[in-house]
Amino acid sequence: MKGLIGIALISVIAFFACFGPLISGYAYDAIDLASKNQAPSYEHWFGTDELGRDLFTRVWQGARISLAVGIAAALIDLFVGIIWGSAAAFARGRIDEVMMSIAGIFYAIPTLLIVILLIVVLGTGIVSLVISLTLLGWITMARIVRGQVLQIKHAEFVLASQALGGGFFHIMRRHLIPNARGPIFVTLLLTIASVIFMEAFLSFLGLGVQAPMASWGSMANEGLPVLPYYPWRLMFPAALICLTILAFNLIGESLDDQAITQH
């Protein structure tokens, strides 16, 4: 049930992210000073901002960026995490210790601090946003993968595969990852949710996506000072941030529940 609600929410958000800016009939950066700060109406479904830009278009334009950043960063985390975690688990001994200590040291650095520093160094923009979010994000995935691989690598089917001549990558691809896909997938979904939140947060601070591009965070930032007069300018992006994160968490949690009841 939880999972279905999550999937439905994601589907709706993804649909509007794809087609929202097309069906509104406005461009996300089209300035129309004659109709600025309008309340939601038939013309402008979510109202307009102080430059008269259509908020419905901008919210879904922002959804594209939020989802793209979230999914891209989570996939990079997945990739790095799987390689790092499984290499450590396979090597064991000193190499494992060193690899996981490096991960631990990275984990100990306050995320926000390093992300802000990196964005200052790399400059603002989507690419540096993704880089700075993945620099620390892969650690959770690496730890999960390592734990799973340690559990599975002594299974007899792995030994049987080695006895049949299977190499490291074959065993990784065919035996270890498929048997660890549950926890990996749950972690992936929760990572997407947290990355979307971080992106919104950084954009809110002005460190993320820059004008005239729209992102939920930057729109919320613009809407905050005028909250008493034009509440819809904060309401819509904030609601979408909440709903998206809720949706990914719901799917992740329901998969987790299923995994627990299966065992």
């Binding site: 089917f157 030994l159 049987a160 049949l164 001549g165 074959h170 065919r174």
Partner: protein, 245 residues
């Protein structure tokens, strides 16, 4: 003509000076069957892993293993392996067919459809009654005996010259045990494949193997023709084992 298939010359394994196997030597001719017998922890499985080259890296190996006259052994291609527990020795996320086709293609380098045909042939050979149905099923849909048959088909698919069966029937019930033992014997005879059967059960070994080697605490204490060893054991440990049964 009888050829020497496998010879192990004073194989020792130690972990930081503590010996797990000490000076183990035995030999097998091609097409022969040898039973390796002993209690848990006597080093039977370690010997098998040493032959396959699958020892953990922290074990120090001494001595030499020759297979078919050469010191290098190609796991899978030269030596097949059947493990004790068929519930855990097949990957639960892959269908039987997939596991077989991959193995065959890896070793024989044939096309997907050829590999499929061969897989069905092998499944039929190990006495699976409806191979094309079982082909597309996952391990949990098969019974224990059937899984062990699939495991055997998988091990025999690359057409090895030696099959190592590590307690192949311990996890099965009594009537299935006999079927599987008969099957292993039959398959080995048909393909002229040597059999190294590891077991703690004297009955199993005497039922299947022409030769027997008895291991105790990392030492090979006695070896010879099965009937000789079982009828007139020379080592006290063998006598002890016989009394236990």
């Amino acid at each position: 003509m009888i050829k020497r298939l496998l010879s192990i010359e004073s194989l020792s394994l130690n972990i930081q000076g503590r010996y797990l196997l000490r000076d183990v030597s035995f030999a097998m001719d091609s097409g022969d069957s040898l039973g390796l017998i002993g209690e848990s922890g006597s080093g039977k499985t370690l010997t098998a892993k040493a032959i396959l080259g699958l020892l953990p890296a922290h074990l120090k190996k001494e001595g030499r293993i020759f297979f078919d006259g050469s010191a290098t052994i190609n796991p899978g291609k030269d030596v097949g392996l059947v493990l004790q527990n068929p519930m855990t020795s097949l990957n639960p996320t892959l269908t039987t067919g997939r596991q077989m086709v991959e193995t065959i293609r890896y070793h024989a380098g044939v096309s997907r459809s050829q590999a499929r045909e061969r897989a069905l042939h092998f499944l039929h050979q190990v006495g699976i009654s409806s191979p094309s149905l079982r082909f597309s099923q996952l391990p949990h849909e098969l019974s224990g005996g059937m899984r062990q048959r699939v495991m055997l088909a998988l091990a025999m698919a690359p057409e090895p010259k030696l099959l190592i069966a590590d307690e192949p029937t311990t996890a099965l019930d009594a009537s299935t045990q006999v079927q599987i033992l008969d099957l292993i014997q039959q398959v080995c005879r048909e393909t002229e494949c040597g059999l190294l059967l590891i077991s703690h059960d004297l009955h199993v070994v005497s039922y299947v193997c022409r030769h027997v080697a008895v291991m105790n605490q990392g030492l090979l204490v006695e070896q010879g023709l099965t009937e000789n060893v079982l009828n007139s054991p020379s080592h006290p440990y063998t006598r002890y084992l016989l009394e236990q049964q």
